[in-house]
């Protein structure tokens, strides 16, 4: 029972007692009244006491009720707060659910990141940016023992440094950008040149499109053999040196690809290209073939076209080594309607420790009102790694010997005329124009014999391989005496040239392909 109800019961009982007492007082005889007076007074006092007690209790109860009321009010306030907080939470939840379903909807209706990446040929997240290239330092000693009809000559001993960084940027798995800058420090200062800058788009398994400035895909030399660490010798073979038979580079577009026609390794491949065409230092017979020409170059109002085919007849499984046979042609208009035609054949064979390669090239050029300009050039070379050799001199010596590759190369150029002005201004392969005249340059020994109309050279090499692309190369060049020809000046004056001087040169080079 609650304390309030108990007290209410007491109150009722007290009231009943008072009423009974009053009735008794009126109805009982006066005698009895006197007797009972004392008892009544006592009872009255008790009733009064009880009444006081009851009043105090009531005051206390009011207080308690008041407090309880306050508590209830407080609780009601808190409940209201909770309710509103709850409502806030609820509305936030509904919002989130709405957002989630909205995003879900968007994801379902559009392609997923994976689908997107597949749709774009895995375009995303496959970028690769890489710097490779080559660097080298070399020393050249050239006797320059004989003069060519009054050309100045003197002994040379020269240090040269060359750095050719290459940037490869691969935005996705079928596109590559390649750019090579050739920088050199030589006897006459520093030079820089943009060697290549092209895009390679591998459209499918049989077709790659290359666009930009590229090495001439004619033959093997320019494209596949000219980098310092790739070329087994320090110098370039004669037909790719100072008086090249075909231009070293081209600005245009190539289509190329390859396929297997027989057993594994029996491949065939093609390269065709169109570009700005050939240009020459001067419109005279024997003038130097120029580097890639700008579109509006006055000498080439027509384009140049080229094609190169290679075939590999040996199956890999036969273990007969790898043989490559190639044929190239490059034809262009130059000087408006005049023709430049060239063609060449080449081979490359390696088996075990032996590798050998060679090329033959020929060019014919129309000269308006003058003699036609014919050139032939060739080289053949062989090298043998001594890595399989064991000499009876202990392991230390064998370790050194087994890193050696002895080499030999024979190269030559035939041309009836040489433009004498080119000798003073000649530049080396891929160089930034730092070479002048008979001063040696990377890839050139500086011998006057190189500028002879009929030059022949035997190069003996000894390479010390530190790693597959780190090598210390040594070369001894012997220029062989050969028939003379004619020097032509810019104004057309012709002077006969005597036999080629019998010159010697030594070149040593440390180079890294990285």
């Amino acid at each position: 029972m609650s304390p309030i109800k108990v007290r209410m019961g007491l109150l009722a009982r007290a009231a009943l007692t008072v009423v009974i007492l009053a009735i008794a007082t009126v109805t009982v005889a006066p005698q009895a009244l006197a007797d009972d007076a004392a008892a009544q007074a006592k009872a009255l006092k008790r009733v009064e006491r009880e009444l006081r007690q009851l009043r105090a209790d009531r005051a206390h109860d009011r207080k308690v009720i008041e407090q309880l009321k306050q508590t209830v009010d407080q609780m009601e306030g808190q409940a209201a707060q909770l309710k509103s907080a709850n409502e806030q939470v609820k509305s936030a939840q509904t919002k989130t659910a709405q957002q989630v379903s909205e995003i879900q909807g968007r994801v379902n209706s559009g392609p997923s990141p994976r689908q997107f990446s597949q749709a774009f040929g895995s375009y995303f997240g496959t970028h690769t940016f890489e710097i490779t290239g080559a660097a080298g330092v070399d020393y050249i000693y050239d006797q320059q023992s004989g003069a060519l009809n009054g050309l100045p000559h003197q002994s040379q001993n020269t240090f040269l440094a060359d750095w050719e960084p290459m940037i490869l940027y691969r935005p996705t798995d079928w596109i590559l950008f390649e750019g090579v800058i050739s920088t050199a420090f030589g006897a006459t200062g520093t030079g820089a040149d943009l060697s290549t800058a092209d895009f390679q788009l591998q459209l499918n398994d049989y077709l790659t499109v290359v666009g930009g400035l590229f090495d001439q895909p004619f033959g093997d030399w320019y494209e596949a053999q000219s980098p310092m660490w790739v070329n087994r010798f320090v110098s370039a073979p004669l037909p790719f040196g100072v008086d090249p038979v075909v231009p070293p580079g081209e600005m245009g577009v190539q289509l190329r690809g390859g396929l297997q026609w027989g057993a594994l390794g029996q491949d065939f491949d093609y390269t065709t290209w169109v570009g700005d065409g050939a240009g020459y230092s001067e419109p005279v017979a024997g003038a130097a073939v120029g580097s890639p020409n700008p579109v509006a170059f006055t000498q080439t109002n027509g384009k140049g076209y080229g094609a190169r085919l290679r075939i590999y007849p040996l199956p890999v499984d036969a273990n007969w080594g790898r043989l490559e046979l190639g044929a190239s042609t490059y034809d262009s208009k130059w000087l408006d309607g005049s023709w430049y035609n060239s063609w060449g054949v080449d081979y490359n064979y390696f088996i075990g420790h032996l590798q050998t390669r060679g090329e033959w090239t020929q060019a014919y050029r129309d000269i308006p009102g003058g003699p036609s300009d014919n050139r032939q050039g060739w080289y053949v070379q062989a090298g043998y790694y001594l890595s399989g050799v064991h000499l009876p001199f202990g392991p230390e010596i064998n370790k050194v010997v087994q890193r050696l590759e002895p080499l030999i190369r024979y190269s030559g150029v035939n041309q009836h005329f040489v433009a004498i002005d080119d000798i003073a201004a000649a530049t080396g392969v891929g160089m930034g124009g730092i070479q002048t005249g008979l001063v040696p340059d990377f890839g050139l020994n500086g011998s006057p014999a190189l500028y002879a109309p009929h030059s022949r050279e035997v190069a003996l090499g000894l390479d010390y391989w530190i790693a597959p692309s780190i090598v210390w190369q040594n070369e001894f060049d012997i220029e062989l005496p050969e028939a003379g020809g004619t020097f032509v000046a810019g104004d057309g004056t012709m002077t006969p040239v005597g036999a080629v001087p019998n010159d010697r040169a030594f070149l040593t080079q440390f180079t890294i392909g990285f």
């Binding site: 691969r170 591998q202 398994d205 190329r256 594994l264």
Partner: protein, 94 residues
């Protein structure tokens, strides 16, 4: 010559689907990848010694090989399937 160029362009486009060549390797099963790796190991000493000394897989990271192999396939014109095999082999070098 011009006609030959166009004929080659169209023949090339007709021969194969217009697609990224290496992406096919990403979707291969383990067994197929293993076969490709073995073929690459067989071809590497032959194809990659042709112009210069063969460079080992450990020289570059797999990502770097992805870029280099586009370059080398362009230069050598080697069959695309063989280039993919060598690429798989070289990428296992690191």
């Amino acid at each position: 010559m011009r006609k030959l160029l166009f004929a080659l362009l169209f023949a090339g486009l007709a021969l194969g689907p217009f697609c990224g060549p290496a992406s096919a390797a990403d979707q291969m099963s383990k067994a197929e990848k293993g076969k490709l790796f073995l073929l690459g190991a067989q071809l590497w000493p032959t194809y990659c010694n042709q112009c210069h000394n063969a460079r080992p897989g450990s020289e570059f990271s797999p990502q770097e090989w992805d870029a280099i192999m586009i370059h080398m396939r362009t230069l050598s014109n080697m069959p695309a399937k063989d280039a993919r095999a060598i690429q798989e082999y070289l990428k296992g070098g690191r």
